[in-house]
């Protein structure tokens, strides 16, 4: 990480150089935030727990998009469709193959990754927004297939099937306060994965493809192989997030969203959080989810005040707030919230020499 370090702060071993947690306060921050997250059902109310659960699985999907769009620079408009694949794969494995949810979950992630590879093949031929259109096609074709093919398995025109509640050793995960732990553990695993992908050979190759693909190819990075790997990881994480979401909502299908709109919102979350940073997905997802809750709250208050306009007031604040936030961030802080955080940290360290 290209951070300026104060004089006297140097590493004595390779392990120290590669360590993610290098200061005592890193351990404190990590410990406190993990403790807060894992004890949330004990002290938080139902709204807080449900929101934390939603934020956790959304972060996983956005982390996948971050690998593909943030690190590798391939614009993708199909993250929600890959979530749908993961959700269906997990649900079908549990219902028809009788597998336990905890075995179906990684298998669903792999299934979504495989579908991602198929559409990633388009990146062999096209790039830039031509690739965006190829993924746009995926975003239309996958939900359409789920509505019009294999109707007895995928729910047909209703666009939804019921998903059973996961059980493990007598613990019922139907309660969101129990289910939160599944999301949190998955998020913890993917976060460690992300940190390690971004600082190893794989991540450096991704960044070189993003910054200049021709130069990367000259340096011996196999463009196609690395683009496919990025597509695979992105779709795999989307599938994982989709499977978690499906079992959390106890249903999966186009009735529950998974449309182009969600894919756009994922991209917006990523940009607002900060493209190509590991902190970005956390900040961006939390910001947008809380903004959506705020807009629902505001819409509800206004709808109560003007009952004859309630249908339009309830639905219109989300897109307005999201669109406005995205546009303002793109104009005034295109590097996102994580860049703000970096500035804040630098300012704190260099105090009193900062304004």
């Amino acid at each position: 990480m290209a951070m300026l370090r104060p004089a006297g702060d140097f590493d004595r071993s390779y392990e120290q150089d590669m360590a993610l947690l290098r200061q005592p306060w890193h351990y404190w921050l990590l410990g406190i935030s993990l403790l807060a997250a894992f004890t949330l059902p004990l002290w938080g109310d139902a709204y807080l727990v449900a929101t934390a659960n939603q934020i956790a699985y959304t972060i996983i999907a956005v982390q996948g998009l971050n690998i593909l769009t943030g690190y590798t620079g391939q614009i993708s408009l199909s993250q929600a469709a890959f979530m749908l694949v993961g959700g269906y794969a997990s649900a079908l494995l549990v219902i028809h193959a009788g597998l336990s949810f905890f075995i179906a979950l990684p298998l669903a992630a792999l299934a979504a990754g495989a579908i991602g590879l198929i559409f990633g093949l388009a990146s062999l031929r096209v790039k830039g927004f031509y690739l965006a259109f190829a993924t746009l096609a995926a975003q239309f074709i996958i939900p359409w297939l789920s509505r019009h093919t294999f109707k007895e398995y995928l729910g047909g025109a209703n666009g939804a099937i019921e998903v059973p509640v996961p059980q493990l050793g007598g613990v019922n995960f139907g309660e969101v306060s129990n289910y939160l732990y599944i999301s949190l553990v998955a998020l913890l695993i993917t976060t460690v994965l992300m940190f390690n992908v971004s600082r190893t050979r794989l991540g450096r190759a991704f960044v070189s493809v993003r910054d200049n693909d021709l130069a990367a190819e000259l340096l011996g990075v196999n463009l196609f192989a690395y683009k496919l790997r990025a597509f695979f990881i992105a779709a795999m994480l989307a599938g994982l997030a989709g499977a978690i979401k499906a079992h959390s909502q106890r249903g999966v299908g186009t009735e529950f969203g998974y449309g182009l709109n969600e894919s756009i919102i994922f991209l917006g979350m990523l940009v607002i959080g900060g493209l190509g940073t590991n902190l970005g997905p956390f900040l961006g997802v939390a910001f947008i989810v809380l903004l959506e809750d705020l807009s629902d709250l505001l819409g509800g208050v206004l709808a109560a005040a003007f009952p004859e306009l309630s249908s339009q007031l309830l639905t219109s604040f989300r897109p307005i707030f999201f669109g406005a936030a995205l546009m303002l961030f793109l104009i005034y802080e295109p590097r996102g919230l994580s860049h703000r955080w970096q500035l804040l940290r630098a300012g704190w360290r260099l105090r009193p020499f900062t304004r």
Partner: protein, 312 residues
């Protein structure tokens, strides 16, 4: 294939394609002059339709509405307002983005689309407005004898024929404007190279503003045409999603290609509905995208686009 249906679907598809082509034209116009791919165009289309509907009285009883204009005057008023909206978008949303990477500009137009979606819902309501004042009633049908077709004739609604004529005429006029007038030439020069255009005295900023203004006009025109066929609703914005395959098929840089691509997409959508298989008939909403994937894999630059040559 259900052959007796094919002639009818063929003609209907071409007629529908005119409007798709006109909408695609607006996107290509902006792309050519400023290299911005406008994902919000569909929402401009929808907003234009709502504006026109509002100017005609907004569904209130005749004389009771706030503004109560005849259709043609309402269209003119909506065109003027949407031109202003186009100029505002260029000034406040896209100009700060000059020089930003592709993803940022793309997301800017996506953000605009979300904003328009919400704003339209707040201003005009979310339900379908089926009372758009159409110049023809749905029962006005043109019957062309065609032996071998279903019922030995092709039936065409006047509305559909009229929208086709207006859309094609408008598209031809805009293509003529772009290729032959002085302003149009200035826009083409800007598209070629900003710096060279400035050095010969073209005001590049004014050209950007102008192209967004014209795109607003084209969008509203397309919106009015769609509204006469299917009524005014928030769903009108999704038609632009079908215009994207049309653009890629025709080639991003080609105005004529956009129009032809629109015809092709309209044709594909109509022809799959002539199939005997229910699955194929249902696929009319994704058939354009399957075509898009084929185009991307075989000829990414489209039929009339420029092949990109990369230099290091």
């Amino acid at each position: 294939m259900n052959w007796p249906l094919v002639p009818q679907q063929f003609v209907t598809g071409i007629l529908n394609g005119g409007t798709i082509g006109l909408i695609a034209l607006g996107i290509v116009l902006i792309y050519k002059s400023s290299e911005v791919f406008n994902f919000a165009h569909g929402h401009l289309v929808m907003f234009g339709a709502f504006l026109t509907w509002w100017f005609t009285g907004g569904g209130a009883e005749p004389g009771a509405g706030l503004i109560d204009l005849p259709l043609w005057l309402a269209v003119v008023a909506a065109l003027i307002v949407s031109m202003g909206i186009g100029l505002l978008i260029e000034r406040f949303a896209l100009r700060p983005m000059t020089g930003q990477p592709l993803l940022a500009i793309m997301l800017m137009t996506l953000g605009l689309a979300q904003l328009f979606e919400g704003a339209t819902a707040v201003l005009f309501g979310v339900e379908l407005k089926s009372n758009f004042p159409a110049p023809f009633s749905p029962s006005d049908v043109l019957i062309i004898p065609f032996p071998g077709a279903f019922g030995d004739a092709i039936r065409l609604k006047y509305t559909l024929v009229a929208t086709f004529v207006v859309a094609t005429l408008a598209a031809v006029v805009f293509i003529w404007f772009f290729n032959s007038t002085k302003t149009g030439l200035a826009m083409r020069a800007t598209a070629e190279d900003h710096e060279v255009a400035r050095s010969v005295g073209i005001r590049v900023r004014r050209v950007f503003g102008l192209s967004w203004g014209i795109a607003g006009v084209i969008a509203t025109l397309g919106g009015v045409l769609l509204a006469t066929v299917s009524g005014v609703s928030l769903n009108l914005s999704t038609v632009a999603l079908i215009a994207f395959p049309a653009i890629l098929l025709g080639g991003l840089e080609s105005l004529g290609g956009a129009l032809l691509g629109g015809f092709a997409i309209g044709l594909v959508q109509a022809l799959v509905q002539a199939s005997r298989l229910i699955e194929v008939r249902n696929s009319s909403e994704i058939a354009p995208y399957l075509l898009l994937l084929v185009v991307l894999l075989i000829r990414p630059e489209g039929l009339f686009g420029q092949k990109r040559i990369e230099r290091i």
